[in-house]
Each structure stands twice: as structure tokens, then as C-alpha cells.
């Protein structure tokens, strides 16, 4: 059981195909002073390879299991929900908390994401420091306060 601190170096995996959003999130991590390394994948297949430790990600020392996954829903090829389903069906990684971070606030998307096994569903905010604030709370809750299984 691990409880994170500000100095916790466990990684956060971000699956996000929109590079603007990825940059904004990265920037927000810095602004919020969240120091966990952010590993970003822009498609679901690569993210799954990483999570399963396949191919070039076989070395778990270099490519450790993430503490938290931030998952966009609308991805090329494999959708966010499909990635989520694979995670939940794979023993090695199925307990990792997954926070869906997406543009859509459609009820249908929300329901489906929880069905697929999401732990939380956040809509990407706009304006001001909303994103920084959100990243700060994500860190506070999921990394600092939450007890992770890994």
C-alpha cells in the first residue's frame, strides 16, 4: 500500500490524442506543482502496449506501472472505453485508478465510461485556472490521499 506525497515519483499515464490538450495538461501539472512524471500516449494501442509491458515497454524498471491513468474518450482507432475495458480485463493492471478526462458531458458517454470501469469522470474545463485547479485536486485526491494498490 502506498500513500503518495508531493515527492512521490510514481508515474501518471495520460492517454490523449489532442496535442494541445496534452500540452495544456502538462503545463497545468507544472503550474500545480505536481511532480509525478507524466507519460503521454496519443493512441490507445500504444497505451495498452505500455500497460501490459509489451514490446519495447517490457522493462518494468524503465516503464513502471502507473499510479493513475488519465484517459480521454475520443481516441483514434481504439476508443477510450475500449482501452478501459482492456485494462479492467487484465489482471496485472486492472486495479489502477482510471480518471476519464474528456470534452464530452453527454449522459450517454458518462454512463458508458462508468460501465467500462472508470473510477471518475471529469469534463475538461475551460477558462482561467480551471484546469490547473482540476489537476491540483486530481493529485491531491488520487495520488496524495488515495491509497493505491501498487
Amino acid at each position: 500500500m502506498t500513500t503518495g506525497t508531493m515527492d512521490d515519483q510514481s508515474i501518471v499515464l495520460l492517454v490523449e490524442d489532442n496535442l494541445d490538450d496534452a500540452d495544456l495538461i502538462r503545463h497545468a501539472f507544472r503550474k500545480a506543482d505536481v511532480r509525478n512524471p507524466l507519460v503521454v500516449f496519443d493512441d490507445g494501442d500504444k497505451a495498452i502496449d505500455y500497460l501490459l509491458g509489451r514490446e519495447e515497454y517490457a522493462d518494468r524498471q524503465r516503464f513502471p506501472v502507473p499510479r493513475l491513468i488519465l484517459l480521454d474518450l475520443k481516441l483514434p482507432r481504439r476508443s477510450g472505453n475500449e482501452v478501459l475495458s482492456v485494462i479492467r480485463a487484465t489482471d496485472a493492471v486492472r486495479q489502477i485508478p482510471v480518471v476519464v478526462l474528456t470534452s464530452s458531458n453527454r449522459e450517454d458517454d458518462i454512463r458508458k465510461a462508468y460501465d467500462a470501469g472508470a473510477n471518475a469522470y471529469l469534463v475538461k474545463p475551460m477558462g482561467g485556472n480551471a484546469l490547473v485547479t482540476m489537476i491540483r485536486s486530481i493529485h491531491a485526491f488520487w495520488i496524495s490521499q488515495n491509497s493505491a494498490p501498487y
Binding site: 494541445d20 490538450d21 470534452s103 475538461k124
Partner: protein
């Protein structure tokens, strides 16, 4: 004696002839006249006649006779009162003999008898059929005074009885004819053929119409059940055979529709047979019934079924295409919410990063432009939000229920508060209770929320904003008013402010997307209501929505 003997012989010969006539002729007048002739001749009287009792039971009409000149037969009548010999005969049923009417003290005699110089009269009654009044009287009249012997009376009675039997026979015959004429006319009027089938042999006796229905106008009328079955199209044969079996074994009633092939037609014709089993009488068991060509009716029915089918297909096709276009709209709305927002977020986010992290390098002007980018992005986001709300209201499933407007108003204000609505800037007055209405609670809350936002937004610069929400009942409807003391709307603009993207002010004075009131209108219309605005420029606006009232009992329709 000799004379008597030859008279007797004559009488018997006459009787035999009459008997033959009475059996064979259908003409009652001929028979009656001949009877009169024969009895007159045999009895040697000058006159003989048959008087027929009329339906009034009192008047006797001279129906037939001999010896009379014109104006008597078919014309003269006698009233059968007690003081006439006729009345007496009818009443007693006994023969009445008056050898000399001048000496007769019991009866009066009709004028025409006196005029013809009648002296002696003999009357015998012609009885009627079972339970019927007498037919009338057979009378012989003589110009000379004379006696009538017992033989003469017996002779007259023989004729009278033969006439009675003949009258009965003819009346039965006429009734039968009438009945069969009625039946024939009815069958013709219904375009029905009639048939009779001997159950044992299957032989069918048929009417002409029956024959033409089955398509053969042949001289040879030799129908049988098996021949009929052969004409039936193969797939209907089992049905008609079953129907006949059940009629014979169980119900006694045949009722079946089937198709037959006729040489002269390109398509089979629909026939209906209806019959009853008659196995009670003396004759061998038979099925008696009618046949009808119901092809036209069947074709009409099929056309109806087909047009119903076509209609259903069209409805389902349109429903599908509607569902499809709804799905497309849904996909469109998703695209708008997701894909249009992403670049906006980037514009706003990066512009803000420029301001915050690189403000110094930008200079004052650069900083200002970055602010403009942020502002424009935020307006665009507002527009997207409103458009999405507008599209949601138009497509949402509407569930009309008993609704307390007060509750919808509370929900609306809570919603506004959580969206950052500054309540302190407005004095909001809501009447404590509202008549219940039929509405969709979510849509109603959104409509009222938009009206409140609108009222608060267009506040007059020189006075604090007051917004009042109240209701009034108009017959079956309830009108909810949202009134403000804001800048108001000139009457000439009031009609168009509910249109989407319609704005009356520049962004600088009153920023907005022009969608809020369009959402109000769409929402109210989705709930089957109407909306409008009153008021004038400078004095404030009174917006109203009108919806169906609900029963005042809170129990109704609440779920």
C-alpha cells in the same frame, strides 16, 4: 221415373265434368261460373250465382253467375243481415229454401232479385277452409214459384262443397306462388343463386343464377358436389370439404368461402356458399342454401389490407428516417460539444499561458490582444453551450406530468446559482403558490431559468432590478408571468426576440448569444404551450408562458 233417371244421369255427368275442371283449372272465376251454369241447367232455374263474403264479414258480392245481364256479376252486393235468407244461411250453415218469396215472411230480398222477377230461391253455404269464415253462398233463383227437393238441395251442397275445396286448393296454390315469387325476387335482388343438394348422392339442383355463378350456362344441368369440388382451386378444397363435413355431422349449417376456376376467367373467383341441413321432413336429407359471387367484396377487402400494409410500411419508413435524422443530429451535437470545444480550449488556454507566463515579453499591446483571444474564445464557448441547450430542448423526450410551478422555479434558481448567477443584483419576488400545470419539470425549469436570467440581464442602468414571478389561471390554461422593471422592448421588436440568434443590443452593452429566448420558445412549444412578451421600452418587460392546467389534487399523475 224415367225423367228422374235421365235427370240424375245428367246431373252426375255434369258433376263429373265439373270435378275435372275444379281439379285442373287455376281460374276461380271460370270454375265458379261453370258451377253456376251446371247447377242452373241441372235444376232448370233461370239464374244461378255465387256470392262471396267480403272481408268485412257482412257484405256479399255477386262473384259469378249465369242468367244475369250486365251490372250484377262483380257489382251487385247483398248485406248479410239477419232478415235476409243469405244472412241466415251464413249464420246457421243450413240450406235456406224459399219456394215463393211473395209468401216469405221471414226475409227481405234485395232489389235486384225483385227487378229480375225472381220468385223462388235456394241457398247453400260454401264453407271456408280450416279456421276461416265461409267463402260465400251458392244460390239458384227461379222466376217461377217452385219447390226444391231434398235431392236438389243435396245436389247443390255437393257443388258448394266442391267449390269450397277448390277455393281452398287455389288459395294454397296462390300462397305458395306468392311465397316462391317473393323468394325468387329476393334472391334476384341479392344476386344470389340457390341450390339444393341431396346428401346421399351429392346431386345438386340449382337455380339459373347458381349456374351462371359457377360459370356454366349449359343445357345439361347435372351438378354434383364432386364436380363442384373439382372447380375449387386446390388450396381451398380442404376448407370447403371440412365445412361440408361439419355441417352434416355437427352444426347443420354450411358457411364457407372459397375460390373457383372458371373457363371464361383469367383469375379465380371468390364464392360464398351458405346452407342449412334439412333432415327432418319426409324427403331424404338435403342441404338447401344460396351461393353468391363475392369476388368484388374480396378484392375490395384485399385492396384495403394492401393499402393498410402500404400505409404501415410508409409510416415505419418515415419513422426510421426520422430516427436516423435524429441520430445524425445527435452525432452532430456530439461533434459540436467535443470537437469544437477542443480547439477553443487550446486558444483560451494558450492565450492565458502567454499572459501569465510571458506577459513581460508581450508588452502592453500584446497582453491586450491575448486578452481579446481569451474573451473571444469564451464567447464562442457560451454560444456552443447555448446551441447545445437549444438542440437538447428540441430533441429531448418530453414527459408531461402534474407539476407544481413553484418547485420548477426553485429548481431553476438553484441551477442559476450553481452556474454563477449573482442573486444579489436582483430583487426576485415569487408568489407563494401556483396553480398546478401539466409540464415536463426539467424543461419548465430551464424555460423559467432563462426568463429570469433574461430579466436580470436587461436591467435599467438607473434603477435596481426587480423581477416578479406570478401566475394566473385562464380557463384550462395557466399563464406564468416573469415581469421586470428593466429596459423593456419596443413593441415593434417584441415579435422577433424569440427567434434564435436574434439580438437587440451590441455585445458591449448586453453580451449574449441570442439563443436564450429561443430555448424558452422551443421548450414551451415542446410542452404544447405558448409564450409571449408585453411591456414597452423604458418601463420593463412582462414575459409570459402559458401551459395546460392540471387538476388541483396533488395526487393526480404524480409519479
Amino acid at each position: 221415373m224415367d225423367q228422374d233417371h235421365s235427370r240424375q244421369l245428367r246431373q252426375q255427368t255434369a258433376l263429373a265434368q265439373f270435378g275435372e275442371l275444379a281439379l285442373h283449372s287455376d281460374d276461380l272465376d271460370e270454375i265458379l261460373t261453370e258451377a253456376c251454369r251446371l247447377v242452373g241447367e241441372a235444376l232448370g232455374t233461370d239464374f244461378a250465382k255465387v256470392v262471396e263474403l267480403q272481408p268485412d264479414g257482412n257484405t256479399l258480392l255477386v262473384r259469378a253467375g249465369v242468367g244475369w245481364t250486365e251490372g250484377v256479376v262483380g257489382v251487385a252486393t247483398i248485406q248479410a243481415t239477419d232478415d235476409t235468407s243469405e244472412g241466415y244461411a251464413l249464420k246457421t250453415g243450413e240450406p235456406m229454401i224459399s219456394p215463393d218469396i211473395d209468401e216469405e215472411t221471414r226475409f227481405r230480398y234485395p232489389d235486384f232479385l225483385i227487378t229480375y222477377g225472381v220468385k223462388a230461391v235456394a241457398n247453400v253455404i260454401i264453407i271456408g277452409g280450416t279456421d276461416r269464415p265461409p267463402f260465400g253462398i251458392l244460390q239458384v233463383d227461379s222466376r217461377v214459384r217452385r219447390e226444391f227437393s231434398e235431392e236438389d238441395v243435396a245436389f247443390l251442397r255437393t257443388y258448394a262443397n266442391l267449390i269450397a275445396a277448390t277455393v281452398e286448393r287455389l288459395s294454397v296454390l296462390n300462397e305458395t306462388r306468392d311465397a316462391s315469387t317473393r323468394l325468387r325476387l329476393a334472391l334476384e335482388a341479392g344476386d344470389l343463386g340457390s341450390f339444393e343438394m341431396d346428401v346421399a348422392s351429392g346431386h345438386i339442383t340449382s337455380s339459373d343464377r347458381y349456374d351462371s355463378i359457377f360459370g356454366i350456362v349449359s343445357v345439361e344441368k347435372s351438378w354434383t358436389w364432386n364436380a363442384l369440388l373439382e372447380q375449387v382451386v386446390p388450396e381451398d378444397r380442404a376448407g370447403i370439404a371440412d365445412a361440408m363435413r361439419s355441417a352434416l355431422a355437427e352444426s347443420g349449417e354450411l358457411r364457407v368461402e372459397f375460390r373457383i376456376e372458371r373457363a371464361e376467367d383469367s383469375a379465380p373467383r371468390w364464392i360464398e356458399l351458405r346452407g342449412r341441413l334439412d333432415d327432418q321432413g319426409d324427403s331424404p336429407p338435403r342441404i338447401v342454401g344460396i351461393a353468391a359471387d363475392i369476388t368484388d367484396r374480396k378484392l375490395a377487402e384485399q385492396a384495403l389490407v394492401m393499402s393498410n400494409g402500404t400505409l404501415e410500411a410508409q409510416v415505419s419508413e418515415r419513422t426510421n428516417s426520422l430516427a436516423e435524422s435524429n441520430a445524425q443530429l445527435d452525432a452532430f451535437a456530439y461533434t459540436v460539444s467535443h470537437d469544437l470545444r477542443a480547439p477553443l480550449r487550446a486558444m483560451e488556454g494558450f492565450a492565458r499561458i502567454l499572459q501569465e507566463d510571458h506577459g513581460a515579453g508581450l508588452g502592453e499591446e500584446g497582453y491586450h490582444y491575448a486578452s481579446r483571444i481569451v474573451g473571444a474564445a469564451k464567447r464562442m464557448e457560451g454560444l456552443i453551450d447555448d446551441l447545445l441547450a437549444f438542440s437538447r430542448v428540441q430533441r429531448a423526450d418530453v414527459t408531461m406530468k402534474w407539476t407544481d410551478p413553484a418547485r420548477a422555479i426553485r429548481n431553476a434558481i438553484t441551477e442559476l446559482r450553481s452556474a454563477g448567477f449573482d442573486e444579489s443584483a436582483v430583487t426576485l419576488k415569487v408568489t407563494p403558490s401556483f396553480p398546478p400545470i401539466k409540464a415536463d419539470g426539467m424543461i419548465l425549469a430551464q424555460v423559467i431559468g432563462n426568463l429570469v436570467l433574461n430579466a436580470a440581464k436587461f436591467k435599467a442602468p438607473d434603477r435596481s432590478a426587480h423581477v416578479t414571478i406570478r401566475a394566473e389561471r385562464c380557463a384550462e390554461r395557466v399563464r406564468i408571468w416573469v415581469e421586470d422593471n428593466g429596459i423593456g422592448i419596443a413593441p415593434e421588436h417584441q415579435a422577433r426576440i424569440f427567434n434564435v440568434f436574434e439580438r437587440l443590443h451590441g455585445q458591449e452593452t448586453y453580451p449574449g448569444t441570442g439563443v436564450g429566448l429561443a430555448i424558452v420558445k422551443a421548450g414551451v412549444e415542446r410542452m404544447g404551450g405558448t409564450c409571449g412578451v408585453e411591456g414597452d421600452l423604458g418601463v420593463g418587460s412582462r414575459f409570459w408562458i402559458e401551459l395546460d392546467a392540471a387538476e388541483n389534487s396533488a395526487g393526480e399523475g404524480v409519479s
